[in-house]
Amino acid sequence: MDKRSINLRIGIVLISLLFSMMIVSLFYTPFSVTEINREERFSPPSVRHLLGTDNFGRDVLSRIMKASQTAFFVGLVAVSIGTLFGVTIGAVSGYFGGIVDEIIMRFIDAMMAFPSILLALMFVSVFGVGLRNTIVALGIMSIPSFARITRSGFVQHKELDYVRSAKVKGVSNLRIMFRHILPNVLSPIVVAATMGFSNAVLAEAALSYLGLGIQPPNPSWGRMLSESQVFITVSPWYAIAPGIFITLLVLGFNFLGDGIRDMREKRK
């Protein structure tokens, strides 16, 4: 019987492909990303231009490749912010309980009451657009779910005997939280992180589509989507390509997350 679930395999394959593409793009793209080539405007997919060209004659594939760097980067940093702060907040809240827990959780609840995209929008409208602010906004947006998941794990585990045992032996609270309990609560956090990644990618695409996220000259699939909308009748491939890649990346991480969750279930 196959130990690795099918979800996990699909996820890993998808992500590896896209990741390799991203790595390659750091050193090489078939064509320059910015060079304008009037004669080749709107050319359909061909051997020379695998995904055709855009309204400036730029190779779509190269632009897609370059933009994947942004997608991964944004996703990674945003999830890292969300995990770092979310887990810490959740751990403190769950472990200490009491009034600290109440206050923190009310904050988190308030944040979760807003659709996260709205929060991100609010943030960039106050602090301005651009790569850095987009990342921060998305990071903040993902804090609540990490906090919730971590907190629930901590609430469950802090009453277990191994924690009591450590306390009785004089191990410090800080150490108990992060060296004793956290490794046991890691699993759902990892699954959340994969989901968080795909959410971040989607959110960035949405923000950039609206023009509020990544700004030129930084490439972004989301912005490519919005730019290409006008030309959809003339060069549909220009509009479809970024959409497909966003979908693939998001699907990849979703499958990965499901796969990790399946493996956890199986182990039980």
Partner: protein
């Protein structure tokens, strides 16, 4: 006269419940309702009772996991409850706990070595010393040092139990509180465990507070036994004496309920009804609603602890 190593005076632990109605005072669960014991150095003292009687609460309070609502705990004559942080820290090392379900008391994500290292590291010990001490302990409980790299789920029930004991002994305590240490074990492993605990007691001059609901085991292992019911001690005596002539009706019914005992001194006593909840304890003597020898006074006045025969104390209006 042997100096008492651990004394508990009038220990109480109340849990306040949330207010359910605005004008009604919130109820409280009296998990411990005035427990007093004194344990001598080197003895094995048994604490027996059914679920809800407060024996685990007592253990956790003594060891510092719970804060007592009232009462004092004295270790070698010093009042623990009013100690400063450093002193308390020292005290914690001297009184340790073996947990009931050892599978739960071992961190599933830690190797045996890591689990044992943590408390020593917290104490500030050096790496070399730590390694030595751990190897010594493994030897002491009869475990092969190859097991140091294993995770709890890779160990058998008996092995886990030994690690649990090591965990309690690693800081070199003087008093070990064992909370149902053999209850979830198979008969043959139970025997191994009890033999080991006895052996360790001799070698390390330990004092045990042995908590269990299994009277046979407690009778075998302990020198003196206290019987608890709903947060109070109802009878206290030397273990053979308790077995031979239990005075409190609850103790009598406990003994008679032990399954499979032939040649019962006592007729099988089947108590009516369920154990009452600590939320709404009965008035007067807590046991009176189920007591087969209750009198009128039992429902209104709480009995006091009196010494009926030498070193045999009961809290009952019959005496």
């Amino acid at each position: 006269m042997k100096r008492d190593i651990l004394e508990i005076h009038n220990l109480r632990k109340h849990y306040r419940l949330r207010r359910t109605r605005l004008l009604k005072k919130p109820g409280s669960i009296k998990a411990l309702n005035g427990v007093s014991l004194s344990i001598s150095k080197g003895e094995s003292f048994g604490l027996v009772g059914e679920s809800g009687c407060g024996k685990s609460t007592a253990a956790y309070t003594i060891v510092g996991l719970l804060k007592p609502t009232e009462g004092r705990i004295l270790f070698k004559g010093d009042d623990v409850t009013s100690m400063k942080r450093d002193q308390k820290h020292e005290f914690r090392k001297k009184v340790q706990l073996i947990f009931q379900d050892t599978s739960g008391s071992l961190n599933p994500k830690g190797t045996v070595e890591w689990i044992l290292r943590e408390p020593l590291r917290a104490m500030g010990m050096q790496k070399g010393e730590i390694k030595e001490l751990i190897l010594e302990s493994m030897n002491l409980v009869g475990l092969d040092k190859d097991l140091l790299g294993r995770f709890p789920h890779e160990l058998s029930g008996g092995q886990k139990q030994r690690v649990g004991i090591m965990n309690a002994l690693i800081l070199n305590p003087e008093v070990v509180i064992a909370d149902e240490p053999v209850s979830s074990l198979d008969v043959s492993i139970q025997a191994q465990m009890l033999n080991l605990m006895n052996d360790l007691q001799e070698r390390l001059s330990l004092t045990y507070l042995f908590i269990s609901h299994d009277l046979n085991v407690v009778h075998y292992f302990c020198d003196r036994i206290a019987v608890m019911y709903l947060g109070e001690v109802v009878e206290l005596s030397e273990s053979e004496e308790l077995y031979r002539s239990p005075l409190h009706p609850y103790t009598q019914s406990l003994l008679s309920a032990i399954p499979g005992e032939t040649g019962h001194k006592l007729e099988r006593i089947i108590l009516e009804g369920d154990a009452p909840s600590p939320l709404n304890p009965p008035t007067g003597c807590f046991f009176h609603p189920r007591c087969f020898r209750r009198m009128a006074i039992c429902s209104s006045v709480k009995p006091k602890m009196t010494e009926v025969t030498k070193e045999h104390f009961v809290s009952c209006h019959l005496y």
